[in-house]
Symmetry: D2
Subunit: 367 residues, 4 copies
Amino acid sequence: MNQEHQIQLPPFSIRTDLAREAHEMAVQKHQEKGQSQISGVRIEETEDQGITTSWIWIDNQAGAQELGKMPGTYLTIEVPALRGKDSVLQQRVAQHFAKEFSRFLQEIGIGPDASCLLVGLGNRNVTADALGPLVVEHSMITRHLFLLAPDQVAEGYRSVGGIAPGVLGTTGMETSEIINGVVQHAKPDFIIVFDSLAARALNRVNTTIQVADTGIHPGSGVGNNRKALNKETLGIPVIAIGIPTVVDAVTIAHDAIDYVLSHVSREMQGVRNNPLDPYNRPTVRDLQSHEVPLETRNRMMGMIGKLSPEDKRGLIKEVLQPLGQNLIVTPKEVDEFIGDMAKLVALGVNCALHPAVNNENASMHMH
Amino acid sequence: MNQEHQIQLPPFSIRTDLAREAHEMAVQKHQEKGQSQISGVRIEETEDQGITTSWIWIDNQAGAQELGKMPGTYLTIEVPALRGKDSVLQQRVAQHFAKEFSRFLQEIGIGPDASCLLVGLGNRNVTADALGPLVVEHSMITRHLFLLAPDQVAEGYRSVGGIAPGVLGTTGMETSEIINGVVQHAKPDFIIVFDSLAARALNRVNTTIQVADTGIHPGSGVGNNRKALNKETLGIPVIAIGIPTVVDAVTIAHDAIDYVLSHVSREMQGVRNNPLDPYNRPTVRDLQSHEVPLETRNRMMGMIGKLSPEDKRGLIKEVLQPLGQNLIVTPKEVDEFIGDMAKLVALGVNCALHPAVNNENASMHMH
Amino acid sequence: MNQEHQIQLPPFSIRTDLAREAHEMAVQKHQEKGQSQISGVRIEETEDQGITTSWIWIDNQAGAQELGKMPGTYLTIEVPALRGKDSVLQQRVAQHFAKEFSRFLQEIGIGPDASCLLVGLGNRNVTADALGPLVVEHSMITRHLFLLAPDQVAEGYRSVGGIAPGVLGTTGMETSEIINGVVQHAKPDFIIVFDSLAARALNRVNTTIQVADTGIHPGSGVGNNRKALNKETLGIPVIAIGIPTVVDAVTIAHDAIDYVLSHVSREMQGVRNNPLDPYNRPTVRDLQSHEVPLETRNRMMGMIGKLSPEDKRGLIKEVLQPLGQNLIVTPKEVDEFIGDMAKLVALGVNCALHPAVNNENASMHMH
Amino acid sequence: MNQEHQIQLPPFSIRTDLAREAHEMAVQKHQEKGQSQISGVRIEETEDQGITTSWIWIDNQAGAQELGKMPGTYLTIEVPALRGKDSVLQQRVAQHFAKEFSRFLQEIGIGPDASCLLVGLGNRNVTADALGPLVVEHSMITRHLFLLAPDQVAEGYRSVGGIAPGVLGTTGMETSEIINGVVQHAKPDFIIVFDSLAARALNRVNTTIQVADTGIHPGSGVGNNRKALNKETLGIPVIAIGIPTVVDAVTIAHDAIDYVLSHVSREMQGVRNNPLDPYNRPTVRDLQSHEVPLETRNRMMGMIGKLSPEDKRGLIKEVLQPLGQNLIVTPKEVDEFIGDMAKLVALGVNCALHPAVNNENASMHMH
């Protein structure tokens, strides 16, 4: 057992599955303390025509402590407009994702011939949880060809197997029990796990893709505690690709209160919003980054306005949970979102794993 | 064109698809004004082992004005525990619904031999909107038997046809165009329309069934303006069975703020909550019916706490809408909820329409 | 009632939904009688890289009598290799179908602005019968855009609506009752009906597309007698696009006996088969066109070998039918075949109906 | 490696997955030789209201040689009327199957507390092959309850896990690789494998259930050669439950020829058929058991009529196979058949595995 597992998350912190969010929260905390740097963490962020790409490297335990995330490499792609069902944009994002994911494989030292096992976590009969199984279904599976007729496999492909192991409630088995067994027999060189995540903000749902080399804790997104799938437990690199598909009512309520507070405060201060918008409307980022003066908080929202984010969230949860009102929800259009996102991710993964697959011929290779 | 269509909804009122909610809001308003009666409206409410049944009769234009709903008969069945996936409870609710719906048919003068057309509104490829098509799929269709071999149809059945006409976006046609045409050719004596509704409270989703003889405005639940399906437009009685399956983020946020406010106020006042609960936790009803003193509102929630429900909701919507944050959402378990609810409703309708179908043999009659 | 409906099919003839097959049978009969021409019928046939395209025009009652089909224009596209799941071939067939279908629309006088209603016959819950509903689902529906915002519709599109009316057993209504009603309200200029057919040969299943301007008799393929959908009953041109998806056991047995007989006869005669095949194997066409000498028939198959095709088929049916052995069957891969074929047909129809849609951007326009 | 694997199947024998058919063929062969007993094989057969139940015990290598099946216990339930979609009959068969399967577990020494792993073979996206995954989906999974809260599991349940491992073409892995791995980690006491079989007669499809304690060779039904799942390879008892869901065109043609021959022969001999049928029609059994005189065979069917079943089948296959005409087919109604059969089997298995589940409450325990 190495050091990585002894990281203690800071008390009262809000758990997030996304390194991008953890980094933002850490930055905020540092700024409040007047610090400018987070030691042990590097970040690289670019934006291109509505696609924001960030690379975060957590280099050591210090950085891990600060962000509450394992040391490792995190790639995040954010495309707010992805919810608009624009098939041209989807195509562009798939292409961009393929390129960045290729770089990710290189960064973490996965060679072009390393054999791969795709693992689609989740329950295919629960649409909001079906992303993992669907991605595997749309991916190019080639391992049996290498097995049965290796000399007939063309150049430019690698051995890829795939499995959707189901969930505890439908198999009666921990995902880790199944994957461990399969890995021992199928002996892949590395694993890619696909999973649905619980978002910490409504605007994350079906707009964000996170890739990490730190493996995952299946089911952790919805409050369960399962055995990890990572290099330590499986003995091979485990890449996790996660996409937020659900959010809880507490998060929706909490965000709404914050947005209202920030919005009103900006109006009171006469802040100029988005200069491109004739209606002078703020964006989500404008509201999130706006600092609401204490006096305004008090006047607008009384004691509740003055609570820290953690406390506010805690109070809402304390009230809603026993009422049975803290439902996990998903957008009404979940069927289409999940279907489109699964194809987008599979397209990108197919291109990144097999040099012979490119954007022109990719759809021919899909199921 | 008769008088019914000239009802003006009171300004600033919050639209609700449920007469039960409209009645509650009207009662509150009257109590504030010190009145005890709503003229033109009768209500009958009973509760039995977790199933609340209410009958509301809006007798005239005065009552219609007060509730913002058409004159007519409204039956509402509320079962908060229905979200618990308890198949024994589902069975019991189906049975109860069958009994009450039989009474409904009698109340509005539908005879035992009147032929029926079932219309399942909604989009079967959008799970949260698939309730209507699914109910029709599970219902007993007999019209072709009466048509092709009338002497072979056993006693105790009536002629029932069914159609799921699709939605504007997938057919390019107004639902009313399709149903009008079908009615003119198939000539049923009355129509039952099944529809998914947008709830005005998260706890309504998949726990409430409303039956009304006033017909419906397809798509009105999600902000569209379609032609009505009712006795005037179709020439025959139109019964609407609606079930809330989605809710918007504004509603979730608004309700959460109210619950928090009410919860804190009760704690400050030391109000005894649910005496049966060792943890002294309030129920949703406790919180909803609790009157928060103005001083508490101010202290806890500042100016926002003091807003009227309409204004609070309006403010939240004003902020969320332009941010693209006012998503329509549905519980993560939507696939199972919709599937179970469609079976429950079809079971009840089958029993109520065909005397030969009863609780023992009902599953044999289902698809 | 005009003349067209008084055509008497010749006694004992074998019914086929395909004009291409009817034409072949008529040619054979004429050759037996030493005639070389079928009066009132013109045919044009081309073959290109595995795609056979035939145009048949039945010009008058004489031709109709000969073929047992209504006067009209018939386009048939046959691609035996389509069952090989080759996505490049599928793409090529879709393109070819789009081109030929455009010509078909011109041939029968449908202008570029004529509004269209797509009708998908069949039962979406029975995979082998789901082709019609699936084609409509994948088609571009634009009628509501012309209705709601006509000035915002770009150049190069026409008004297209779509409906999948279900089948008698699930709606209780004749398809013609529903379509008649819809046509009266939606008022399209012409109709395209998509339907699954029963093949008269196993090798037709999922390899043949027939387009005809004679309308269709829904359900006739499986022995039902429904009201027609055609220009007389609906008042506007009705184009039928039919694809064989099922076959009955009698057909399979009958064809197998014929193939065996023909195969053995050719072996006995030392006929050279396919010169391209090193194993000297005959093709389906070789066997079908081979004339088995009476003596060989007798020696190989006794009395049964000497029966005419009609009598042989009749005998097999007479035996299998009462045994419950004359099942209608479909290939095991039906899910994939139907899915792919529905997309192929929708792609072709989208391109032919809307000039703005072409092969490059077609997938962007599909659902 | 023990003796069981060295059994050589007799040359030229027709492979059948069903011991019941193998037994019939062996009996016929013995009768031709004037023998009355098959040594090493015991059979017990009963019939009750349309349900035929047979138990076959192959006691030793001699019996295994005769039947071409492994030594072991085989239970077969045949219900020709099951294709009639009669839900009362389905209920009765489920009940009967539960009773017989309970006896089977006792016969082979599986105790009431032995933990079980259900394995659903097949491809859930190919309807005709989806039976296995669907049975597992409808089965009661309890293993996680024993794992997480063993003291809260009520009396009358045993630990049951379930997995649908997918097929080689979609996972890239042999089923045996996956199951081996899972068994090593989940450590069940025994396994039940559900599989779709290829029938050797059209009337078997969706009417027959076979239970055997000899394990299975996944994919063998469709000509593949995979590693076995049995006691030797997995170290624990492996029960296989197989249901014929597909049949090939050769079988259909071969059976049709035989039925025609037998039918005509009986007519020529004036054989009285089913005395209960006013039309004097023979049943499938009548035709199958009728001995056609050589002279009749010759007269009716020439040389082909005189071929042995093996040779006739071989000839038909030799002709159809290279033509691409030997399709594997399934009844058009496959969606409904597979759905109903999966529920029926899951119902029976649930009752047999868990004493607390009985016919009254079984549907409450199903998914």
